[in-house]
Every structure is written in structure tokens, then in C-alpha cells.
Subunit: 136 residues, 2 copies
DNA sequence: AGTTGATCTAGAGCCCACTCCAGCTCCTAC
DNA sequence: GTAGGAGCTGGAGTGGGCTCTAGATCAACT
């Protein structure tokens, strides 16, 4: 198999891309944007080597992005984490604010869904038995 | 009050902007993009005059946009509506496909929310009693 | 007649989050 | 040693959805 005897977990950018689903472009982009918690180690030749905890961090970033957090906010969170102990209240505040935004977004999506479903129902009724026409 | 005796409902672009929350820029943009069901009437001087049904249509467009339907898809839907009777199955298919996408998006958002809430809980616990530290 | 304010058009500009390119280096295999 | 493939950097390009500008027109008010 491919599994080495568990060395100090060192992944190339390609391997990380494969695991996370991010492109290598995106990985370098994220690094430039300053949203990696720890500086990525490099080989003598300059190649990036990611640790498992880098991958975990990226997975968090992916969740935050997927839930609509803009990169500047992720950067602020990252900076708090890098700043270490004492910034926990700031991180919590940031996460809570994000939680609230996600809740709002969920509610909005749900409202939209209700309307879309209503229109779907109208067209279904119309296509079953043509009484009048579904309007617009 | 402001209610006139219900004339042939004619609104300026500014009034429509106010009612819909869209900018006048966006209204003209949507028109250029071909996502108005009916051609907007014009005054002799070239000014747009919207009807109430234009506003209703725009409200639907807003819902579709808010739920993530891209403008080209809205345009396709609009074209079916303009094409009139016989396109109902196409419209239904389009709406059902959108419904499915919205459901998927809702599920994804919910998963992200769970993770964000987990992290919030971790930080809350940490800040109540400092046993170890919240990790990242 | 003049001023203000809304509207018009065509087209440029902006923001975001990537994405891709050129030109180079590095490692591995043959 | 050389070909291939992954990786490097800095910077340009892309796509979506608006947003804004310039310069003109128009209606209403004073």
C-alpha cells in the first residue's frame, strides 16, 4: 500500500488538493490571502509540505467558505488564532456572528424554497388537468 | 392616502426600485439581460413605465436570484413564459431542477452550521472554565 | 428662461474568488 | 543527460452580477 510507517506527515500541494477538493491554485491563493493558520513548511527546493493539521485547518476554511464567510473574515479569524491565547473571545464573537448570518441565510433560502415549491405545485396541477392556466 | 383610483398602474423606474429593493441600475440591467416577461412600456420621452404585473414578475426574479438561480437560467424560464402555452412542462422542469438545487444548498448550509455551532460550543466551554484550550 | 432632479444610452469599472499563464526550477526515471 | 511531471512565482485573465460614469434629454417648478 501507499501508507508509509507514519512519518512526520508531509503532504505535497497536489496531495492536499486531492484530499481537500481545493485546486492547487486555490491552495496557493489561500496562502497568499493569509488564511493558513501556520506557515507552510518548505523543502530545500521551495516546495510546500503540508501537515495533517494544515489539512484540518483547510477543512475548516472550506466549511466557512461554503457557508458564505468572505475571505477577509476568515483572515481575521486566522489572525486571532495565530495571535494565540487571549483572543478566544474574539474568535467566539466572530463565529457567533457567522452563525447568525448562516441562520439568516437558511431562513431566506427556506422562504425562497417555499415559493418555488408553490410554483411547482401550480404547474403540476395545471399539467394534470387544464382548468385555467398557471398564470406566470 | 396615496392610493389613486386604481388607474392602469404605471410606475417609474425609481418607484419600482423603491418597491422591489432593486437599484435602478439593476432594473435596467435585468431588462438588458432579457429577464422581463413583457417588454416594458415607454413614455413618449423614452422613460420606462412598469405595470404591477412587471413588479410581480420582478419579485419572482428576486426570489429566484436569492435562491441562487443564475441569470441565464432565469432568462430561459422567461423565454418559456414569453413563448406562451405549451411550454409549461419546460417551466416545471426548470423549477423542479431549481428546487433540487436549493434543497442541496440548504443541506450543505445546515452541515456547515452544525460545524460552526460545534466550534462555538467549544469556545464557550473553554471560556467558562479553562481546562485545556480550544485547539484551533 | 433657468435650475433641479429623474431618466435615458452605451459602455467602462468593480468586487470576489478564483484560475490560468509564462518562464523557471526541481526531482525521478530511463 | 534528458524527458516528463510536479511545483515555484508574479501577474494577468475570468465570470457573475451588478454599479457607476458621461453626456444628453425631459418634466416640473420658480
Amino acid at each position: 500500500m501507499e501508507t508509509p510507517p507514519a512519518p512526520a506527515a508531509s503532504l505535497t500541494i497536489g496531495q492536499v488538493a486531492e484530499r481537500t477538493g481545493l485546486s492547487v491554485h486555490a491552495l496557493r491563493f489561500y496562502e497568499r490571502e493569509g488564511i493558513l493558520a501556520a506557515p507552510v513548511r518548505r523543502t530545500s527546493g521551495g516546495g510546500r509540505r503540508y501537515s495533517e493539521s494544515d489539512v484540518e485547518w483547510l477543512n475548516l476554511c472550506i466549511v466557512l467558505r461554503a457557508s458564505g464567510m468572505p475571505i477577509p473574515d476568515i483572515r481575521r479569524y486566522t489572525e486571532f488564532v495565530r495571535a494565540g491565547a487571549g483572543t478566544e473571545p474574539d474568535r467566539l464573537a466572530l463565529l457567533r456572528a457567522h452563525e447568525a448570518r448562516v441562520l439568516g441565510r437558511l431562513a431566506e433560502l427556506q422562504r425562497s424554497l417555499d415559493i418555488v415549491r408553490y410554483k411547482v405545485a401550480v404547474y403540476e396541477d395545471y399539467l394534470e388537468q387544464q382548468p385555467a392556466g398557471p398564470g406566470l
